[in-house]
Symmetry: C2
Subunit: 202 residues, 2 copies
DNA sequence: ATTATAGTTGACCGGTCGGTAAAGTCAACT
DNA sequence: AGTTGACTTTACCGACCGGTCAACTATAAT
């Protein structure tokens, strides 16, 4: 007598398990069987909902970004403080999240998008493009806050597009370094410098 | 009739093949068999020289760093120009190398250490530590140049250790972003900002 | 010439990989 | 009651994974 109490929360459990396992390890190290076992689902069900491991990964990326947007981004970029202070708050919240994950897992996990990009960007163009789009979306958020800072006269002669890219790059780099050192202290030490980066016009 | 013309250039060919293949793809995607085939070596010979794939990877990391030091670092940080200009030269040379690899392989490969760190840091502590050491060595080089700039009065009130870490983080982040976009243009656009990063004391 | 050693070869191992197929089970609709 | 279709279960597939082993060959020292 199979459970079948739930219509599509099986799909959700697969998504959640993939997210948790792949984030903690890597795409290649986490097999479909491991995802199914963690989700309490048989492999046949997996392939009923997802045509392939790659498709699951694409859906997972969308889900992680949707979650990031809802929780981290919306909270950090709320307009209750000055524009550049929102960038600092974004860095702080990200650092706090990494510290929590470090406490519960014993390792610094870094950025889920940066991790997958470095592992798969040269192997799977579709996944690479999905990650690229996510990074672009984040840059748009940063650009908006920079434009606001420029309009308020807080900064002058700023190349907004380049600076947004540079800030995101710095953010990803700090995450990567923290992961390579398995150390979250450098997050709180280095993150505040993100909002100070400037690439000027002329 | 086996060749056996060479004593230990078999070992070198294995090292070179691993380096080329893993850099272009990933640790997990490149099997021992693929490395052997590329090196023109049988699997048994592989395990005569290396006890495991992991050990090969550790040796490979050392070889890549030794090469980086000999070519890129020594050239970039030669003392024929002012200290901060050497950082810019390092960024330029790295960008040029990425452009060459992009032309020959069709994809932006990024930093070999950053790639492996993001893929394996949570799975293999030994490899993680080796990469951490390499990053520390690079920071030492950057610190030296920053100390020189401070001594010459080019900068004041600088937190040298934190700034060196921030510059390396920025460098790695720019590499990661370029790889995720499969685009080398952002390298030349963003790299010059590396030498402008400052984390001050007080 | 014999022996010791380093290096090579090819066949092989159990385990796991992503993915498939068919039978079975449930809920909803007719 | 019978049918449909979504979902689950079980068993299975060929390919490949990292790694092993014993036999073999070349080289150099004795």
């Amino acid at each position: 007598m199979p459970s079948m109490e739930s219509n599509t929360d099986t799909q959700q459990r697969i998504l959640d398990s993939a997210r948790e396992l792949i984030y903690a390890r890597s795409y290649a190290d986490v097999g479909v069987a491991a995802i199914c076992e963690h989700a309490g689902v048989k492999k046949g069900s997996f392939y009923h909902f997802f045509p392939s491991k790659r498709d699951l990964t694409l859906s997972m990326l969308d889900a992680v970004y949707a979650d990031l947007k809802e929780t981290l981004v919306m909270k950090a970029f709320a307009e209750d403080i000055p524009p550049l202070a929102r960038l600092d708050r974004f860095g702080q919240l990200a650092a706090e999240f990494q510290q929590q994950m470090h406490q519960s897992t014993g390792v610094v996990l870094g950025c889920p998008f940066g991790n997958l990009s470095n592992e798969l960007a040269t192997q799977d163009e579709t996944i690479r493009i999905r990650i690229e789009q996510i990074f672009t979306n984040l840059q748009v958020v940063i650009r908006k806050v920079l434009r606001e800072a420029v309009d308020e006269g807080e900064i002058k002669n700023l190349n907004i597009e380049a600076t947004a890219q540079a800030m995101l790059a710095y953010f990803e780099g700090v995450m990567l370094l923290a992961k390579s050192q398995n150390n979250t202290k450098i997050l709180s030490q280095l993150m505040p410098a993100m909002s100070q980066i400037r690439i000027n016009t002329i």
